[in-house]
């Protein structure tokens, strides 16, 4: 958990924070979306073959190149794919065109679209969304829209769902070192749905809450995969005067609040930086960023960081870059311990593939990094002919990469002059983020020419609607209104007992708290003990509640029976019989009570009556592991205690 000092709602409002989320959730199908490979993930590193590829940007349908695409092209990376014999075929390696879409996946996506209140699409087109980072060997993800314009309730507010998409999952990154990025191709092609909300959320915790509600309710449908990596969220954040920034691939719900908070502040600090640059007259047209090769000075700088790097990669050069009038700006803090220079460093890392730690050193007069002495910095400044009002960055590496780095420094400062660049960012575990890519636009979308569009008939929709039962998205909000804790609702969604919960509370009139205790807490506790509660059907459990309602089982007895069913793997009828057989009669309870009283006599004498009662009651019930009817024990105990009082 990341500790964050959140602002007040009013303060976020003053910032003009708005945020939307995209939830990517793998759905439960046996096979992949566009080929007949099984859905499978390998934990081992025992891949069977490798393929090496590169990506080039292509023109969009509207005749334009996408900005992200050009950026990825600049990085000139070798992309290595690790293939597995059992779950990667020639489709994933982009050596065969796609097969017709997996209609089981379409069915699930339609169900979820309907649950989210979306207008389902009449004729679905497969679209290619360009991704040149290598995560998909084709260079694009096959994706489609199944529904638009839905909504869910969240704490009384309507959150709009922009669209529900169905798409193929990408590869998993193994490593990204210099000009070589490696991916495992096993996950590639797994069907995913993407739930996109409008930017209706206005505080970090609201974003987190909505993300939690949607992903938990998705689990509640029983139509999706669970487990690590099966759900990933993208979070869009903007504040007044900034542009949209997208934080990609967050796989921990609890990180969303901190991420949104820090991103809102990062944008605020970038806008302050923009104002300061303007005040100093730093403008795009007159921006002075210049560089000199100082490789000759490398020894003289006496920097272990630079010397080690040069030794590690012979032929490397060192450049000093001057930034006119930017004294004090590089150290300007944007996120906790991450100044503006960090943004520059990350961009150089991603685009110029200079991934040393650190990959730049800077000195802006106020802040500086690295191990250069005052004299060494003075030499660098003089070599650049830079003054005290300027800032200086050092970068080193192979010539082509360093030249790209120099041009990226300029581009990043130009972005800072405009304010907040449109980009996607990667989340760190501390809630801060780093540059990942320039945010792609609609130009990267173009129709897939390999597959025909397909119509969803009114009849098919009707069939799906008829089959569908309760709605977990609505139920989530309704449960909250009933006063059930968020924790318990999450549990009921995760173990999918929310439907049963409604059946026993509404149908049998079971007490809400008892139902929560049993279906959320006790089941979870059993699971943690290693008893697999998922093997019990809702009907099995319903009968236990029914017996309880009939007075044949106590609260404790219900728990005992469920445990017994799990341990003995047989029907609840037998379990109930065993329970009733083992239940002790009144006489035996009296004996137990007096034995216990005798053992604790001295202790009880010193306690007030109510505390003594609680203590003994707890001991008795605990000792009998559910086989005692609490009311009978309480009666016997009260009688025994009052008898002592009278004697005393």
């Amino acid at each position: 958990m990341v500790a964050v000092n959140y602002l007040s709602d009013e303060e976020y409002e003053a910032l003009g924070l708005t945020s939307g989320i995209e939830i990517h959730q793998q759905i439960k199908t046996e096979k992949k979306l566009f080929c007949r490979c099984p859905v499978k993930m390998h934990r081992d590193n025992d891949y069977d073959a490798i393929v090496v590829r590169h990506m080039r940007p292509t023109l969009s349908e509207l005749g334009e190149y996408d900005g992200t695409a050009l950026m990825e092209f600049k990085t000139k990376k070798d992309i290595v794919y690790q293939l597995y014999h059992d779950c990667v075929c020639t489709y994933e390696m982009d050596d065969t065109p796609p097969f017709l879409i997996n209609q089981n996946a379409v069915e699930i996506a339609l169900q979820i679209a309907i649950l989210l209140g979306c207008t389902t699409i009449d004729e679905v087109f497969i679209t290619r969304k360009q991704y040149l980072d290598g995560s998909i060997p084709t260079g694009f993800q096959r994706t489609s829209i199944i529904g638009i314009d839905g909504e869910i309730g969240y704490r009384g507010k309507r959150i709009h769902i922009r669209q529900l998409g169905l798409e193929e999952d990408a590869c998993r990154e193994v490593s990204d070192i210099r000009h070589c990025v490696t991916f495992k191709a096993d996950r590639l092609g797994t069907p995913l749905i993407e739930v996109v909300t409008e930017r209706d959320m206005v505080t970090p915790l609201e974003v987190q809450g909505v993300a939690e509600q949607i992903s938990m309710a998705l689990k509640g449908t029983g139509l999706v995969n669970r487990g690590m990596g099966s759900v990933r969220e993208d979070v869009n954040v903007s504040i007044s005067g900034s542009t949209r920034v997208e934080i990609k691939g967050v796989d921990k719900l609890s990180l969303i609040g901190p991420l949104v908070h820090y991103e809102a502040l990062r944008q605020k600090h970038l806008l302050e930086l923009k104002d300061e640059l303007k005040n100093r007259g730093v403008a795009k047209e007159t921006l002075a960023i210049w560089d000199v090769d100082i490789s000759k000075l490398a020894d003289q700088l006496d920097s272990t960081i630079i010397q080690d790097a040069l030794e590690a990669e012979p032929g490397s050069i060192v450049r000093a870059i001057g930034l006119r009038n930017m004294a004090g700006m590089l150290g300007h803090e944007l996120q906790p311990n991450k100044p503006f220079a960090y943004e520059i460093s990350q961009r150089i890392k991603v685009i110029a593939c200079l991934d040393g730690e650190p990959n730049i050193l800077f000195n802006d007069g106020e802040a500086r990094t690295g191990d250069l002495s005052d004299d060494a910095w003075a030499d660098v400044f003089s070599e650049l002919d830079a003054s005290k009002t300027d800032a200086v960055i050092l970068v080193w590496g192979p010539l082509a990469d360093v030249e790209l780095a120099v041009s990226e420094v300029r581009l990043r400062v130009e972005d800072a002059i405009s304010g907040v660049p449109n980009e996607t960012r990667q989340a760190s575990d501390d809630g801060t983020t780093g540059f990942e890519r320039i945010l792609p636009g609609p130009d990267r979308m173009y129709p897939d020419t390999d597959l025909p569009p397909f119509a969803i008939s009114a009849e098919r929709l009707e069939n799906i609607k008829n089959k569908m039962a309760a709605n977990p998205f609505e139920t989530y909000e309704r449960f909250r209104a009933l006063g059930i804790s968020n924790h318990a609702i999450r549990q009921l969604m995760r173990n999918r007992r929310w439907r049963l919960f409604d059946r026993v509370v509404k149908g049998l009139g079971i007490d809400l708290h008892f139902a929560v205790t049993l279906l959320a807490e006790r089941l979870r506790a059993f699971d943690r003990e290693g008893l697999n509660t998922s093997k019990l059907t809702d009907d099995d459990l319903f009968k236990v509640f029914d017996k309880f309602k009939q007075g044949k089982l106590s609260c404790e007895g219900a728990g005992w029976v469920i445990r017994d069913m799990l341990q003995n793997d047989d029907s609840q009828d037998l379990a109930i019989e065993r329970f009733l057989l083992g239940q002790l009669d009144e006489k035996k309870i009296k004996e137990l009570v007096s034995t216990q009283l005798a053992a604790k006599r001295t202790l009880i004498a010193r306690l007030p009556a109510d505390k003594a009662f609680n203590l003994l009651m707890g001991d008795l019930m605990h000792g009998a592991s559910g086989k005692l009817e609490p009311r009978a024990v309480a009666t016997a105990l009260r009688a025994a205690l009052s008898a002592i009082d009278e004697q005393g």
Binding site: F140, I148, A455
Partner: protein, 465 residues
């Protein structure tokens, strides 16, 4: 604009869809708000593919996604703007450097560089030097490029007219003094074209390189750019002055192989590394940083401008892919229809069933030239081994050694364009022009590794496929 909907304003729409859209005053490229009985949409109306149904309207949503809206549910369409798309590849002037070799790219209609047709989803080739430079700027580092679009057809539509035009075009370029020729070609019949050009264009002084792509260049992972770069390098600097096919060696983006035009065949419907040299080994390997001649028996580049262009072609030739239970009427039908030559792709060493003996004999007696090749693709026709073979030869079939069936077909068309005289035909067919028949098959001319074997698996973990 309403009901004036000419075919253009509702491009691709027909039937019910066209009726509804024109009654609602809709037109393609209009930015619209659409109200339907199910829900509302905002987006750009796109033209529709003519092969798609007449029940839906295609809308490009603001997010860039396309969706189809059932026209029967539409109640209202209001136009808010208009944005017609223009599909242009950024055209930049191809730089000229007198120090660089001159290469001519002849276009036949392949999709070497291309843009996408929004409507049919088809790929429109980019072809002018300016367009190519826009798409593959690396070409300017290699040579001065001139392009000539000879025709624009799919490779399955290639016919004698195109082959002879191509051969003559090559002759003119050689005469003009170019340093190399690249031919952009669809991959499906690239080996047919490379074979016929090997016969029609003999002893060229410069490389003639056929190139295409297995993944069209509207895809970021396309093999087109690398193929084109490698083909252009082979044409500009390569030392092999033959008709060659330049396509991916492995499926990884590593290098291309140069295959002799008469020994190459497309062997996989979709793999990048689909072209293989059969019963022999490739003549070269080329990458953006490397050019290696793999064999000693290649014809080297010359400075003269001598070349023999021999563009003749007899169209009445067929290829018969034998199958068990083939009936005599298959052969008879060809003879009755005036076919002058037949190439049979026989089983095993070159066999067909007995019922065909008689019609084959009759055909040969009538002056039809029948040659035997093998449908195993690798290996020689060996008609002395079994009685069937001997009996077939006795009836007039001539074994065509290790000529690939498609190559034998192309060669027979070409030979029959010269002569119909039996002795002469046989002499020309069996005298290799360009390794279409080789005297020996090297041990490594047939290499198909089987997956699943431990030693092969081991190799695949370390060598990029």
């Amino acid at each position: 604009m309403a009901a004036s909907s000419s075919s253009n304003t509702l491009k691709g729409y027909r039937g019910r869809a066209k009726e509804v859209l024109s009654s609602l005053g809709a037109r393609v490229w209009a930015d619209v708000e659409v109200k339907t009985s199910k829900g509302n949409y905002v987006g750009l109306i796109l033209p529709r593919s003519e092969t798609a149904d007449d029940q839906h309207m295609v809308l490009k949503l603001r997010t860039g996604y396309n969706v189809g809206v059932n026209v029967n549910t539409i109640t209202e369409i209001s136009e808010m703007g208009y944005k017609e798309a223009h599909y242009e590849i950024p055209e930049k002037k191809f730089p000229c450097d007198p120090a660089k070799p001159n290469v001519t790219l002849l276009g036949t209609g392949g999709t070497i560089a291309s843009r996408l047709d929004y409507r049919t989803g088809a790929v429109i080739p980019a072809f002018s030097p300016g367009e190519l430079y826009g798409a593959v700027p690396e070409l300017a580092d290699i040579c001065n490029l001139d392009t000539k679009k000879l025709f624009g057809i799919f490779s399955e539509d290639m016919s004698p007219l195109q082959w002879t035009t191509l051969a003559k075009g090559i002759g003119r370029e050689i005469e003009k003094g170019v340093d190399g020729i690249v031919i952009g070609h669809g991959t499906d019949t690239m080996h047919h074209t490379s074979a016929i050009l090997s016969f029609m264009v003999q002893n060229p002084p410069v490389p003639i390189i056929l190139v295409g792509s297995q993944r069209s260049s509207d895809r970021p992972s396309s093999d087109a750019a690398l193929n084109l770069i490698n083909a252009t390098r082979s044409a500009a600097y390569g030392d092999i002055a033959e008709v060659l096919v330049c396509m991916f060696g492995p499926t990884s983006d590593q290098y291309c192989l140069l295959h002799r035009g008469t020994r190459v065949r497309k062997m996989h419907s979709s793999y990048r590394s689909t072209f293989r040299t059969l019963s022999d080994t490739p003549v070269g390997r080329v990458s953006p940083t490397d050019y290696v001649v793999l064999r000693d028996d290649v014809k080297r580049r010359r400075n003269d401008r001598k070349v023999k262009i021999d563009p003749v072609f007899e169209e009445k030739v067929s290829i018969v892919y034998y199958y068990p239970n083939m009936k005599p009427d298959i052969i008879e039908a060809l003879v009755d229809n005036g076919y002058k030559g037949i190439v049979i792709a026989g089983t095993g060493l070159g066999h067909v069933n007995k019922p065909l003996y008689e019609p084959i004999k009759k055909a040969c007696d009538k002056g039809v030239h029948i040659f035997m090749t093998v449908q195993t693709l690798w290996g020689y026709v060996q008609m002395f081994v079994y009685e069937t073979g001997r009996e077939l030869m006795q009836r007039g079939i001539v074994p065509a050694a290790n000529m690939l069936p498609e190559v034998a077909y192309m060669k027979l068309c070409w030979v029959l364009g010269h002569t119909l005289e039996r002795e002469k035909v046989i002499e020309m067919m069996l005298k290799p022009v360009c390794d279409e028949i080789t005297e020996r098959e090297p041990h490594d001319g047939y290499l198909i590794f089987q997956g699943g074997l431990p030693e092969v698996q081991k190799m695949l973990r370390h060598i990029a496929k």
